[in-house]
């Protein structure tokens, strides 16, 4: 053998090389440094497997045939694949075991129904395999690269390797006749899978003693033991039994045909309607996510209850989940610490033209990582690449049909199965069906037909955005079509959604108008907005509703304040407001005698004291708040003879005397009462020191008017008014200075 993959690649011209690199992108990425490296990469099993995975059923059939036949010419191939010799052996075609491991997913179809491949199909397939560099043409014969042979397995098309001493056809016929009809069922069982399990396969048998069918087959060398457990049907016997066919069922050179298309106008119209619905559903979802702000699960999903709530106005069932995952995959919503929220992409999306909006949804759909049919609030995907591949596959398959073609899910699955014989298509059938259902929701298919939207690049006639709404006296606003983004946003603020669809019905309510006022709209602005955007006259009921809301709005207002200052004296209040402290404290007049300060009460007190005022603190109930004595540690006994401060330490006797004379001038209550009575009788001014209700000690100069029942009524000097002092509270009495 002179031809190697490396030599073929080295001798390729640019066109062939380009084709190879296009067909096998794994060879181009990462870019190989040399042709040798590329050839090495091309001959690895992984690369060849990828190349084989890309073959359709017919191409795969051809490569299998090449593998089965060994180095053979195209003519030989054609004789096996295009005009298969039929049934030379009587009885061998009667019953065929159903087993065809080489053809996963290919539905057995009778030869009559499918168009059989032509020589042209064969040439095309071979050319493709050569372009792929899986098959190398060599002096009129075709040579399978080694890696491909390995990937395809030891018995391609169920044929055993070429026997060491092959029997001739005549010999086989002779032996079959000699063995009798009982061996035929045994041989037929192995006809499409060369080997089978047989206990004691290496048993001693002879033509004379053999009685059982297996013994007979072994004795006539129609079966050969491979080891003690396995027998194999020799290649030439198998081929003869098959009537020379390589494969049990024929494979068409083209996928099952699409049915004739119906007039596309109806399908396209319905698809466009569906697309508009998808856009409006997505808008509704974004609005709902914005208001509900769904919680984010620790796994990254969306809290189910919130999601269900958000979806109530969007869509029911699976369609709802599709919109949700679509919103996430298109980047329209995203989660952060605050939960799920619309993204800035969503803001841009809202501003887009309807057609661009839909294109974004189509692109987002292809990127959804979740498996079709298994969508839920858990926004994670077990196998993102697979899900995307299936969606992409369905979309490209739909693109092969004419617009208006009826789409039968089973046909789509059969077509995909033909296109990818090595993919697990039958297992994925439920996924593909679910994918097609998703297509219906987006408008890729409509009325079970393929629509223009599958591959449309130009706007197929989405309605223009409306600039105006219709206001009605039942307090609703009807948007007779999609609205311009600004108008839609304003309307969403002013009114609550009542009906979803291309158009929108929204209702003005107390709360919706209040919401607008809350974010800073004024009644006049709302009125003007109605006036500017209404196609009809603004209904009187609506204006009255607005007046009601405006009148109520702000009737009670709430503001934050650190402290409240009650100032009885209006002039003092004005002074305070104009003082430098006003700014520092954040003073604001809230009523004729009340100021609100942003500063905390202690700061306010300190500031006011600095201003020379003597404020009192009140607690939250309005009572005067007494600052407790600042915390102090308990004093311990002092060392040495230094007297404690506060004890009398007068060294001067005179001082001492004076100090002593200033001490209470009585020592029992009788003495005190006597003094008070005397003062009352003399009508003289005396100075009493007494403890008030709040515990503070004060000294007052008074004249006693009456003493009775443990209390005395006195008059304060200097017009201080009458005061009643409980006698037990009096701690000192002395004559007042004149």
């Amino acid at each position: 053998m002179t031809l190697t993959l490396a030599s073929v690649i080295r001798s390729m011209d640019t066109d062939a090389m380009t084709r190879l690199l296009t067909l096998r992108p794994d060879l181009a990425s990462p870019a190989p440094r040399s042709l040798t490296e590329m050839a090495e990469r091309a001959s690895t099993q992984a690369s060849v497997r990828a190349a084989l995975d890309g073959l359709d059923s017919w191409q795969y059939r051809v490569v299998l045939a090449i593998a089965a036949l060994g180095d053979d010419s195209v003519e030989d191939l054609a004789s096996h694949l295009i005009d298969p010799p039929i049934a030379p052996l009587p009885g061998s075609d009667a019953e065929q075991p159903a087993s065809s491991d080489d053809q996963p997913g290919t539905e057995p179809t009778s030869a009559a129904e499918i168009s059989l491949p032509t020589r042209q199909d064969l040439d095309d397939a071979v050319a493709h395999l050569v372009d792929l560099a899986v098959v190398l043409p060599e002096e009129g014969s075709l040579h399978l690269v080694g890696a491909a042979a390995t990937v395809l397995g030891p018995n391609p098309s169920g044929l055993a390797p070429v026997s060491a001493q092959p029997l001739t056809k005549a010999e086989i016929r002779e032996r079959l006749e000699a063995a009798g009809p009982t061996v035929l069922p045994v041989l037929r069982r192995l006809m499409w899978t060369p080997s089978g399990h047989v206990p004691h396969a290496r048993r001693p048998v002879s033509l004379e003693t053999a009685t059982s069918p297996i013994d007979l087959a072994l004795a006539h060398r129609l079966l050969r033991p491979v080891d003690n457990e396995t027998v194999v049907l020799p290649r030439e016997v198998s081929l003869l039994l098959r009537g020379g066919r390589l494969f049990e069922t024929p494979v068409p050179a083209a996928p099952p045909a699409w049915p004739a298309p119906r007039p596309a106008a109806r399908t396209n119209s319905a698809a466009l309607g569906t697309a508009l619905e998808a856009i409006s559903a997505m808008s509704a979802l974004l609005e709902a996510v914005e208001t509900i702000n769904p919680a984010r699960l620790s796994s990254g999903g969306i809290a189910k209850r919130d999601a269900t709530r958000a979806l109530t106005r969007v869509a029911r069932g699976d369609a709802g989940w599709l919109y949700l995952v679509l919103a996430a995959s298109a980047g329209l919503i995203s989660a952060d610490g605050r939960g799920w929220l619309p993204t800035t992409t969503a803001d841009k999306w809202r501003q887009d033209e309807l057609w661009s909006q839909w294109l974004a949804l189509r692109a987002g759909w292809l990127a959804i990582p979740q498996t079709p049919g298994e969508l839920s609030n858990t926004l994670e995907a077990p196998a993102p690449a697979t899900a995307r591949a299936w969606r992409q596959q369905v979309l490209s398959e739909l693109a092969t049909a004419e617009p208006g073609t009826p789409v039968d899910p089973e046909l789509v699955i059969a077509r995909i199965a033909w296109r990818h014989p090595r993919w697990p298509v039958p297992e994925a059938a439920p996924v593909l069906r679910a994918t097609l259902e998703e297509c219906q929701i987006l408008g890729l298919t409509a009325l079970s037909g393929r629509s223009d939207l599958v591959d449309a690049l130009e706007d197929p006639g989405m309605p223009a955005r409306q600039q105006a709404i219709i206001l009605q006296s039942d307090l609703t606003a009807v948007a007779p079509g999609p609205l311009t983004p600004g108008l839609a946003a304003d309307l969403a603020l002013l009114a609550d959604r009542e009906s979803t669809g291309v158009a929108g019905v929204r209702r003005f309510t107390h709360s919706s108008l209040r919401r607008a006022l809350d974010v800073g709209w004024t009644g006049d602005r709302v009125r003007q907005w109605w006036h500017d955007h209404s196609m009809s006259e603004v209904p009187q009921g609506l204006l009255v509703l607005l007046d009601d809301v405006v009148r109520d709005h702000g009737r009670v207002s709430v503001a934050a304040a650190g402290a409240i200052l009650e100032v009885d004296d209006p002039s003092l209040l004005e002074t305070l407001l104009r003082s430098p402290a006003a700014e520092e404290l954040g003073l604001r007049k809230v009523a004729p005698t009340v100021l609100a300060a942003q500063a905390d009460p202690d700061v306010a007190l300190a500031q006011l004291r600095e201003l020379g005022l003597s404020p009192v603190a009140r607690d939250s109930h309005g009572d005067i708040f007494n600052t407790p004595a600042p915390p102090r540690a308990r004093s311990t006994g002092r060392a040495g003879g230094t007297p404690a401060p506060g004890t009398n330490s007068h060294s001067d006797p005179k001082e001492l005397a004076e100090a002593l004379s200033s001490l209470p001038t009585f020592n029992d209550s009788r003495h005190l009462l006597a003094m008070l009575h005397r003062a009352q009788a003399d009508a003289s001014w005396i100075e009493v020191t007494w403890v008030r209700d709040d515990g503070t000690t004060v000294a007052d100069t008074i004249k006693v008017m009456a003493v009775a029942k443990g209390a005395m009524r006195c008059v304060r000097r200097g017009g201080g008014g009458v005061v009643i002092i409980p006698v037990p509270r009096v701690s000192a009495v002395r004559a007042a200075a004149q």
């Binding site: 106008a265 319905a270 698809a271 309607g273 219709i470 291309v502 158009a503 019905v505 209904p539 009921g541």
Partner: protein, 551 residues
């Protein structure tokens, strides 16, 4: 794809928005009326809804899904979503897959051309007890007594059965229309004939459109003994009067079966109340249904039909049934039972259309907002929640406004309606007029009504409690001072019935409401509903009554 934009917007939530001012609006309205229910009819955009029942009604009337889809696509301004069209087709295809038919030997049978559907419903728990043995893969025996219940159960399962088993003829009785000094209106004739052709079903006509006459016409077509079920005694007497006036029936042939009288005659008029009376756990008056071999049963005001009557109707499936109503919408949501037990809609005349023909008059609604005094406001604010509404709606400030309104309409037949007797008595004294409350005897009541009708008096105060269910005489002006006038639905309808002025005049309905109180909240609901029903609705301040006639 782009053509002249149609008048209809098909929403994904199954509502249809019809632009009234569009040149194709009328054409479109006619096209969608058979399958969509009108929900709201304010001035610019009418809202219709697609419901399974509506679609099945259309099927029963001989329309098919292709037609419905075609209408939607033809009139829709924007392309209609595929899912909705598929859903319509799928829903409509469910009707008629099951049929109840007569079998030559087995009596009644449930027949289906779709074996899978038959198997599905026969396996359902709700159906199992109602159906006998299966004769073959497509037929199962139905006991005649279960005919109605089975239809109910099948509808609940989403497979409404078409009842083709026919009817018993009933006892023959000659009834003819006597068009003496009056003429059957074209739509009344059409309604009766549609019913007769369909066998059983409901005729939807607005209040004041002459449903009694439709009933009489149906009787003249059936010519058999007839049981008429009505809401109350007064209504029963009206039916009797009408029948004597419009048909060849004499007073002797018409019996009244009510609380006071128990006559069974060839034509018997019974009230719902007497039929649903229960004594010792049984309905003693059920025998009425068996008393004669009725050929026709007429249900007046089907939307008010009480549940027990439904149960009894389930047993009457072999007799022809005619339902008369102004609306198929039931506040209790029993629309399905009407469909399966009485029958699909056989005729529906849009209210506004009959109004446009001049048979009933539009009303002009004005809400007058009274500003309560400071004291009244404080009193309302401090009132306990359970008396707050009463307090708010009976404020003395209202009386002056009511007096003013009455004065402005002096000479026109005027009714003052309210819920609270104290307030009404006060008003009656102030206005110096007659008052009817629950305490007024029927005799006195009839006399006052008669005087009002004759024009001897043209101002009357009536309490809602006394007159809730009784046909008020027609008036040109109604002033409601307190209370809601029945449910919202009824309020709008009764308004139509109450205000039936002579041709060319517009009736006036005033609702006097205390501003900024719970009373005003109730008024907001009323405003919405009346506006939805297409009434013009204005709000006027109590202090600016001079502006009352500014449109």
């Amino acid at each position: 794809m782009s053509q002249t934009p149609g008048p209809l917007i098909v929403q994904s939530d199954r509502t249809l928005l019809l632009e009234v001012d569009h040149p194709l609006a009328d054409e479109c309205r006619h096209a969608i009326a058979p399958f969509a229910e009108l929900e709201r009819a304010p001035e610019h955009i009418h809202t219709y809804r697609l419901t399974p029942l509506g679609l099945w009604n259309a099927m029963a009337a001989g329309h098919d899904a292709e037609q419905v889809v075609d209408v939607l696509m033809r009139y829709s301004r924007f392309p209609v979503a595929s899912s909705l069209l598929v859903d319509v087709t799928e829903t409509m295809s469910r009707y008629g897959r099951l049929r109840i038919e007569k079998h030559p030997t087995q009596g009644l049978v449930l027949v289906s051309t779709d074996k899978a559907v038959l198997t599905e419903v026969l396996r359902a728990k709700s159906v199992r007890g109602l159906v006998g043995d299966q004769i073959d893969a497509e037929t199962a025996i139905v006991h005649p007594s279960q005919r109605g219940t089975l239809k109910q159960a099948l509808l609940k399962l989403g497979w409404p059965a078409e009842d083709l088993a026919g009817y018993v003829d009933g006892e023959q009785h000659d009834i003819d229309l006597v068009e003496d000094g009056w003429q059957l209106r074209p739509y009344q004739k059409m309604a009766a004939e549609s019913f007769w052709a369909g066998g059983s079903g409901v005729v939807v006509l607005p209040c004041g459109a002459g449903k009694t006459v439709v009933g009489a016409t149906a009787m003249s077509l059936a010519k058999c003994t007839t049981l008429i079920l009505v809401t109350n005694t007064v209504s029963a007497r009206q039916w009797k009067d009408e029948l004597i006036k419009r048909t060849s029936l004499t007073a002797d042939e018409i019996g009244e079966y009510s609380g006071s009288r128990k006559e069974v005659r060839p034509v018997t008029i019974a009230t719902y109340q007497v039929i649903t009376t229960k004594r010792h756990g049984v309905h003693p008056h059920l025998e009425l249904f068996e008393a004669r071999d009725w050929g026709l049963v007429i249900y007046d005001e089907v939307h008010l039909l009480p549940a027990p009557v439904f149960r009894m109707t389930a047993d009457l499936q072999a007799r022809r049934r005619l339902g008369l109503t102004a609306t198929l919408v039931r506040e209790d949501g029993h629309e399905e039972d009407v469909f399966s037990l009485i029958g699909p809609k056989r005729y529906d005349a849009p209210w506004r259309e009959i109004e446009a023909q001049g048979w009933i008059a539009p009303a002009d609604c004005v809400e007058v907002r009274v500003n309560p005094t400071e004291d009244e406001r404080m009193a309302c604010a401090l009132a306990e929640p359970d008396v707050r509404y009463r307090m708010a709606s009976t404020l003395a400030s209202k009386n002056a406004v009511v007096r003013d309104l009455v004065e402005r309409h002096r000479g026109q037949p005027t009714l003052v309606i309210g819920q609270y007797v104290d307030q009404l008595e006060e008003l009656a004294t102030e206005l110096d007029c007659e008052i009817i409350t629950g305490a007024t005897t029927p005799l006195r009541r009839q006399a006052i009504y008669q005087e009002f009708r004759d024009g001897t008096i043209n101002l009357l105060v009536v309490s809602k409690v006394a007159n809730f269910s009784i046909d008020l005489p027609s008036a040109e002006v109604a002033i409601q001072v307190s209370g809601a006038f029945g449910s919202r639905q009824e309020e709008a309808q009764r308004l139509g019935r109450l205000l039936r002025p002579k041709h060319g005049l517009t009736a006036r309905f005033y609702a006097v409401v205390s501003r900024d109180t719970v009373d005003a909240d109730f008024a907001a609901h009323r405003q919405r509903f009346l506006a939805e029903q297409g009434y013009s609705y204005r709000i006027v301040d109590g202090g600016e009554l001079d502006r009352i006639n500014e449109g």
